[in-house]
């Protein structure tokens, strides 16, 4: 099967899964005990007011009609009305999504930037102290509850040492282009704003990244150990190539491409844990918004956020597949 057919096939898998997800979440949100209209208006509203809001929200229609209307709206960029923020959920998502994209991307970069070198170090110095230390760190990283680590980091770096900000993203850069502060400040060539944004990102992004960091490290280590035993490594060494070249240019290239799929899957960890870490750091992202909507039972917002997260997860995995295909053209795609 060619790479293109493989990608098409993946897409054909993803689309029904996402549609199914939308049905699942939608149905879940409508079987909720308690009337969302009553919840929105509060106990003081009259029965007529509640009935009127129910009609406005289409809650009096059959479930299938409600779903089809909702999906029709989604494709026009209408995510329904949020009972909590009193505007279209699409507007809310547009406002809060960039902060989560920024946080999870930086966390993933941390995980790769630290996980890959640690994995290589561990593999190259197998069974030496460096290896033991990195492996123990990886075991700790997987087991740490992210929200607890977030609180401890806050306590240490923000309260006791006072060197990093405790909560939030800091002031917005003067120009909003992407909503991603790091990018916006760079595009405006405002390096002071860039530094401020970066300072706010360090703690939450690190707390979020530890699990992925540990997984990437373990996988790169395992793959590297396997690659270093292969003939081409021996051949490269026998030609007298410097060890650095053998490790980074030859072995790591192969070890990393097979670690890549895991990076896509591990993005799911980041998205999931963002709900906890954003809450601890009051990071005004989609997950933080999602948690508030969940607690308030703001159902349109809950459905919207979960669908956006499902799509984001699918897109990242598809991108990883594409990258994998380019990095490792040998790969065969089985049906």
């Amino acid at each position: 099967m060619s790479f293109r057919t493989y990608l098409l096939r993946r897409l054909l898998h993803i689309i029904p899964a996402l549609l199914g997800l939308s049905i699942l979440i939608f149905v879940l949100s409508r079987v909720v005990p308690g009337d969302p209209a009553r919840l929105a208006l509060g106990p003081d509203a009259t029965q007529e007011q509640v009935e009127q809001l129910r009609r406005e929200m289409g809650l009096d229609k059959p479930l299938v009609v409600q779903y089809l209307r909702y999906m029709g709206g989604l494709f026009r960029g209408d995510f329904g009305f949020s009972l909590r923020t009193r505007r279209n959920v699409a507007q809310d998502i547009k406002e809060f999504l960039p902060a989560t994209v920024e946080l999870t991307t930086v966390a993933m970069l941390f995980a790769i930037a630290l996980g890959v070198p640690l994995g290589v170090l561990s593999a190259v110095r197998k069974d030496r102290p460096e290896d033991h230390i990195s492996r123990i760190l990886a075991l700790i990283g997987v087991a740490l509850p992210r929200f607890w680590l977030a609180i401890l980091l806050q306590l240490l770096f923000a309260y006791y040492l006072g060197i990093l900000p405790t909560i939030g993203r800091g002031p917005a850069p003067p120009v909003r282009l992407t909503g991603i502060y790091l990018l916006d400040s760079l595009l405006a060539l405002d390096f002071r704003a860039f530094l401020i944004a970066l300072k706010h990102l360090i703690l939450p992004a690190f707390a979020l990244s530890v699990g992925s960091l540990a997984q990437i490290m373990r996988l790169v280590r395992a793959n590297m150990i396997e690659e270093m035993r292969r003939d081409y490594v021996l051949a490269a060494r026998s030609y007298g190539l410097p060890e650095r070249v053998v490790i980074y240019k030859y072995a790591l290239k192969n070890a990393f491409s097979s670690a890549l799929t895991v990076i896509g899957l591990s993005y799911g960890f980041l998205l999931g844990n963002a709900f906890l870490v954003e809450t601890v750091f009051a990071w005004p992202g989609l997950a933080f918004y999602g948690v508030d909507s969940l607690l308030f039972k703001d159902l349109n917002a809950v459905v919207g956020v979960t669908i956006v997260i499902g799509v984001a997860f699918a897109v990242v995995n598809l991108l990883v597949d594409i990258a994998y295909g380019y990095l490792d053209p040998r790969i065969r795609y089985e049906t």
Binding site: W148, G268, L271, G290, V302
Partner: protein, 302 residues
């Protein structure tokens, strides 16, 4: 077929020999033993909480305003909280909640996931593709996000958090068993029992299922840690156990309000979560080496 000529005693003897070998392999791994030790310690804490805890009455809604916010001391190993309850006693009781939560969630996930995986793997046709497409739907979202959405729809209680997590967890077992069955059904012993006239249900439950236990056991062990991470996360967000229940996640959420001055409130329950998860991971890694199984341990969001 070797099995057909073994008499029951011999089979038992081989099994015992296998177990003995497995144990000696397990024993040679220090980390796995450390994991087992941690789990045993936590299980003991959970079972004997009422007797070990210095202040068992502090597990629920107890108040002692004379003793609020005591830092850790000999009388209160982990200090006291905002209403004067002993944090150490509450952490011990918290072990009951997290461990039983993990056991119940995984039992439900097994009860749903394993039969579906067996069916989807052994028979082919629209039922089995439907089952697998449904697992795709569930796995399209990081499990913690789906669990949050389900928990939010229900009333925030411990039982509902349990239902929500179990609801998101079974597809992993369907997928695992499905993969195992696909490869096992090609094996000679399945062919052999088919040739002597065994029906499909007999083959699936008596021949194939017993051979899928080792990867399932390894996954269950590793998953205990992940389920506890998700459960404490839900409780932390206020979508699981509610105060005054001494759930670890709830205690951290409550204690966080009184940071930074009263650091012990959130620190010790978190340490308990960390140790428990670490214990299950170490034990799971050890079992994986003993049983020599390869399983994809990729959680969508735990």
């Amino acid at each position: 077929m070797a099995e057909t000529i073994l008499v029951p005693q011999e089979i038992r003897a081989t099994r015992r020999e296998e177990l003995r070998r497995a144990w000696s392999r397990f024993r040679s791994s220090t980390l796995a033993l450390v994991g087992l030790g941690i789990i045993l310690m936590m299980a003991a804490a959970a079972i004997f909480a009422p007797t070990i805890a210095p202040y068992p009455q502090h597990a629920g809604g107890f108040v002692d305003f004379a003793n609020t916010f005591q830092p850790p001391s000999r009388a209160h190993l982990f200090g006291t909280d905002d209403v004067g309850r002993d944090v150490f006693s509450r952490v011990l009781f918290g072990a009951r909640i997290s461990l039983s939560m993990g056991i119940v969630v995984l039992s439900i996930a097994l009860a749903i996931g394993v039969p579906l995986g067996l069916i989807a793997g052994y028979w082919s046709g629209w039922v089995s593709s439907l089952i697998m497409r449904i697992t795709d739907v569930f796995l399209a979202l990081p499990s913690i996000v789906l669990a949050l959405a389900v928990a939010a729809v229900l009333k925030p209680t411990l039982t509902n958090a349990m239902i929500a997590i179990a609801f998101t967890w079974w597809p992993w077992y369907t997928r695992l068993v499905y993969g195992e069955v696909l490869s096992l059904k090609q094996e000679a012993f399945v062919e052999a029992s088919r040739s002597v006239g065994a029906g499909p249900w007999r083959i699936v439950f008596k021949e194939i299922l017993p051979n899928t236990w080792s990867p399932i056991i390894v996954k269950l062990t590793l998953d205990m840690g992940f389920v506890i991470l998700v459960e404490t996360g839900l409780s932390f967000l206020g979508l699981g156990a509610q105060p005054p229940t001494p759930a670890w996640g709830t205690m951290i959420a409550e204690g966080r309000i009184y940071m930074p001055a009263n650091w012990w409130l959130a620190t010790f329950p978190g340490l308990a979560i960390f140790l428990t998860v670490l214990g299950f991971n170490l034990l799971g890694d050890g079992l994986r080496d003993v049983f020599d199984v390869q399983i994809e341990q990729w959680r969508g969001g735990a």
